[in-house]
Subunit: 383 residues, 2 copies
């Protein structure tokens, strides 16, 4: 495994790439990074940084030719290039076909339906014109959730739609609409699968969203639900990973509805914001598990070391420009507080600039500290 | 603290520098590194790497002029340059005068004597000729421990001397000789001090040495001694740090003799091999504490998360050349096993190439796993 002659290539150099590099560097592994932005969080910490568009066939092909094992930290990548690299004998995990299914929400939804994975009901539309014709002929009623099939992230490309005016504001693209779920809680489970067939999962966590930005604000580990529900979510996630036959990480986001049913919302075949806590809170971090799974070595223990709450640090409203991080000195002395700053040069409203994991035996205490951090720390472009 | 306009400079780019960079990079801090070896473990992971001799006045001055805060990861540095940088308004921690005392074992010993710090009795000699004249006139009797006053490390520059033939093989330099201590255990305590006066210590750990190489092989956290002795060692270390008035880290190595007395052996004003376990085993790692103390922000909790054993991975006997790391796949699946590979290009007999920290509630179980790792993993230059 610590073979100096193996080079890993990661498509994407954001914070997920950076935190994967932290483990790779701890292990003395060679990792190359491809990203369009030379100032991305990972560019300084890798063996070789290559600037290039992840959606561009030639960029991905050229990058892949120089490495032995290829993985991703974002699903919006050129899949055809990955398929062709696989044909040329490169190891590509997760498998390109699975990335292709997941990067299109309409294909994801179809997969759930065909494989008896519980999910909210949905309809697929080629464009807004087709969607409108269904509304006009009363085949669909308001309100509903609209999602662009491709390229959505962090709440972009997702909207609750209540009337025809709001339909007119939607982007004209291939899309799905989903029935509204009466959401009691949002949950996530991370599954790790190896080529050898080894499969492990972390325990269920709970995601609390910011109501304004529709972004995850807090992650509670473990989720504040019954052991039975927690296990049900874990079994569902593992079942889905097995049906996908994925090698690598699979983050499964789920809804717990008011009737106590668990429905799969969507998945990501890579490290996920909801498991950042695993760096400090678990025996093995999700980033280490990614490396273990693609290297084909035994997976690490997914057991918890301590309860934790993760709070995302996003750019303040009203500021775009060189980032300034403020008031950390007021929270850094609290026991169990672990800040992570991604090193993005510019802040923007709601841009993920870092996170803090608070470990504490008492989850409520950890949540209190997380709230205090959210109220104290600011990220803006003030001098 | 996360002020982008502050640059930290570290003298030395070995594994201690690299593990400090891990925290700095997690926090988005800018760190420059000075080291003579462009292939040193830290060169790829810092903001700016400068190649230069740490003992050379001009190298250190030039390096220091471009940063705001200067610290060390090795005590063999040009102290005059650090003093002059301090005069020019740079922040230098630990203070140059303290580094000067510590880098000379004869000055260290005098300091202990003058400050009533228990230590083994000793004598200082300008050179081997002077030492021999004392032996000839029967003022000294065999056996004794000989130490070069300066530039010793990892068992080099330290010898047990039993007869005049062995004296003739010693390096001719300023030296000390110490009476033999009937060592029951070797202990260490890490103390962290801030400019504000805040002072914290980790619990006492136990060092087990390899009898052939005289290098630390295992660290047991906590030490397998009574609570009373553990506290005594901690109080002694804190007392010493206070008397030195150091800002930064102070690793205090101690002997527990057969009469149950604790004697200070020597100290290091920097991160230390004996506290590597704190990365996984403690709320706050020693490397994070170093950054906290020199940045002047509150220190982190030194509390233990879980018991641990650290095992050093050194180059196999008989091999020098490009390093190959073998059989890790056989131990990587064991719960709580955390390998660190420093990324040194060449292995040499007994060269520190990495370490593994095993966390486990049961310290005996952790020790068993550590022994298995020592027996399994090899580091050599075989193809």
């Amino acid at each position: 495994m610590f073979n100096k002659n193996i080079t890993i290539g990661i498509l994407g150099g954001g914070q997920l790439g950076k935190m994967t590099l932290d483990v790779a560097n701890k292990w003395g592994l060679k990792v190359n990074i491809l990203d369009a932005d030379i100032n991305c969080p990972s560019s300084k910490f890798c063996n070789n940084f290559i600037q290039g568009d992840l959606m561009d066939y030639n960029s991905v092909m050229n990058f892949g030719n120089d490495v032995d094992i290829i993985t991703i930290e974002i699903e919006n990548v050129n899949v055809q290039a990955l398929k062709d690299l696989e044909k040329k004998g490169k190891i590509v995990f997760p498998q390109p076909g699975i990335i292709e299914t997941i990067q299109d929400k309409s294909l994801q939804k179809k997969f759930y339906l065909e494989n008896e994975i519980p999910t909210s009901s949905f309809q697929i539309f080629k464009n807004i014109t087709e969607l409108k014709s269904f509304i006009i002929s009363n085949k669909i009623s308001f309100p509903f959730i609209w999602k662009a099939s491709k390229m959505g992230y962090d709440g972009f490309g997702v909207k609750k739609v209540s009337n025809i005016e709001e339909v007119n504001q939607l982007k004209d693209c291939h899309c799905i609409i989903e029935e509204l779920v009466d959401i009691k809680k949002e949950l996530a489970v991370m599954v790790i699968s190896s080529k050898s067939g080894e499969i492990k999962n972390y325990h269920t966590v709970e995601m609390e969203f910011n109501k304004n930005s529709n972004q995850v604000e807090y992650i509670l580990s473990p989720a504040n639900i019954s052991e039975k529900l927690s296990l049900e979510a874990e079994n569902l996630a593992v079942d889905l990973a097995k049906k996908l036959k994925i090698v690598g990480l699979l983050a499964v986001e789920m809804f717990l509805n008011s009737e106590g049913e668990i429905l799969v919302n969507e998945v990501a075949p890579r490290p996920h914001n909801s498991y950042h806590f695993s760096i400090e809170g678990s025996y093995t971090s999700q980033f280490e598990q990614l490396l273990r799974s693609i290297l084909g070595i035994p997976l690490g223990s997914t057991k918890t070391i301590q309860n934790s709450v993760m709070v995302n640090l996003v750019g303040d409203d009203g500021y775009s420009g060189p980032a300034s991080y403020n008031h950390f000195d007021q929270i850094i002395g609290i026991e169990g507080v672990n800040p992570h700053i991604y090193g993005k040069f510019e802040t923007r409203p709601n841009r993920k600039m870092g996170h803090v994991t608070i470990i504490n035996r008492d989850l409520n205490k950890a949540k209190e500290i997380a709230k205090k951090i959210k109220e104290t720390v600011t990220i803006n472009s003030k001098k």
